[in-house]
């Protein structure tokens, strides 16, 4: 499940290609909420957290601390993995994880 689905976010439509400065919403406002999910912040990651559901004790600290809401959860709110479209590889989840091996940072192949 992706974060955008879990928030019920509608897809933000960018202005049409022939739109002018007269057509865009004033002040840079996007007249819709929850659209940060549409912007994929996982592109510039240099290392990625790797999640092991066998070891995880479901304390959910990673989910609480992740600044990008990139810890994927199921309907019960249990951690199921990482949303790599939005995870920027900060490593906070791995630092906060109390269980050895449940969340481990691994270098991305660049």
């Amino acid at each position: 499940m992706t974060n955008s689905e879990s928030r019920g976010c509608e897809k933000w439509e960018t202005p049409s290609p022939d739109a002018t400065w007269r057509d865009v919403p004033r002040g840079g406002v996007i007249p819709r909420g929850g659209n940060a999910a549409e912007y994929e912040t996982g592109d510039w990651r240099s290392s990625r957290p790797v999640y092991d559901g066998e070891v995880c004790i479901q304390c959910r600290l990673c989910w609480i601390y992740c600044p990008d809401s990139a810890i994927a959860t199921n309907e019960e709110g249990e951690v199921t993995g990482i949303d790599y479209d939005h995870c920027k590889g900060c490593g906070i989840c791995a630092v906060e994880c109390p269980k050895d091996g449940a969340m481990v940072m691994v270098a991305e192949e660049l």
Partner: protein, 400 residues
Amino acid sequence: MSLAANTSGNRMALTGNESVAFAMKQINPDVVAAYPITPQTEIVQIFSSYVADGDVDTVFERVESEHSAMSAVVGAAAAGARSMTATSANGLALMWEVLYIAASNRLPIVMPVVNRALSGPINIHCDHSDTMGARDSGWIQLYSETAQEAYDNTLQAIRIAEHPDVELPVMVCQDGFIISHALDNLYTLDDAEVQGFIGSRTPTYSLLDVDNPATFGPLDLQDWYFEHKRQQAEGMKNALDVIPAVAEEYGKLSGRDYGFFEEYMMDDADIVMMVIGSTAGTAKDVVDAMREEGHKVGLLKIRVFRPLPVAQLVRALRGKKAVAIMDRAESFAASGGPLYKEIRSALFDCEKAPMTSNYIYGLGGRDIGPEDLRKVFEQSLAAAKAGHVEQPVTYLGVRE
């Protein structure tokens, strides 16, 4: 400002700071976030006593810096609140980053600024270096000669800022100490008249409108940033229509008429002095004295500097022989002050353009008297006679 016969209201004796604090009380904004700085401190201090006494419904945020004050009113204005703060000099400088954000997010914040020299060397007295530095921040700038004008401009600023064609923040400037701390005898409106005039704010977007959620201040890169800046420029252009319309309505209510600028003895004047702020009062006396001696001199006092009313200024100056442009700020361009540059540029395409000269004066609160201003007129008369300006930029009142 000129007083029409039907000037009305309640007579009060107030300083510039008191008049603005009183205007804020009558506006009764939703949110004020403020940090003290001389010579503005009194405005928010007096306003905080209105809050403590329950005279206003305002949420008053005491923040830890001007950067935070401006950030807090940005958030409040984005939420749809009518939001105000006030500052001076270094406080304005500390707001700098957020000034641009307020303007580009199209947030109609109204901010009284009490003009003070921007350090250094450190100095608490009046010049216009603080707000002149902020002239490209995207804020509308209204300047006041007197406490009366500071009061009237503050009320009009709410309407200008919040107008749906504008939605831009406004600085309402007055001269530090000279106006802010000097007692003036002025007219105020009734609370109900003020509320009737300003109405309530209808924001285009609001963070608190949960039925229509919106995202404020998102990343805006190569694809649409330029369109948003173009749009912002249009808001500033629209202000050229909105400012006179608001002034007309205010004039009917108060009996006090405001234009983009005030013209004093301009009709048949050959020599014009252009000035911003309290020095206009002294200059009018000098004009009177020199008129008695038979000199055709006049005064043009700028009220609206952003947007700059170029067409109207050109119309007012066309055919004059010489204009002495007074800058209470040095822009360190090695070629004159900010008002001079803009007026000179505005006159470039004008037929029968007057010759121009620039006088930088009054920095750090240096007093300027009638004898200084008389010298300016005399030099301009001589230049008009000779057909050329001997010295384009003069530092007036400095020890040579």
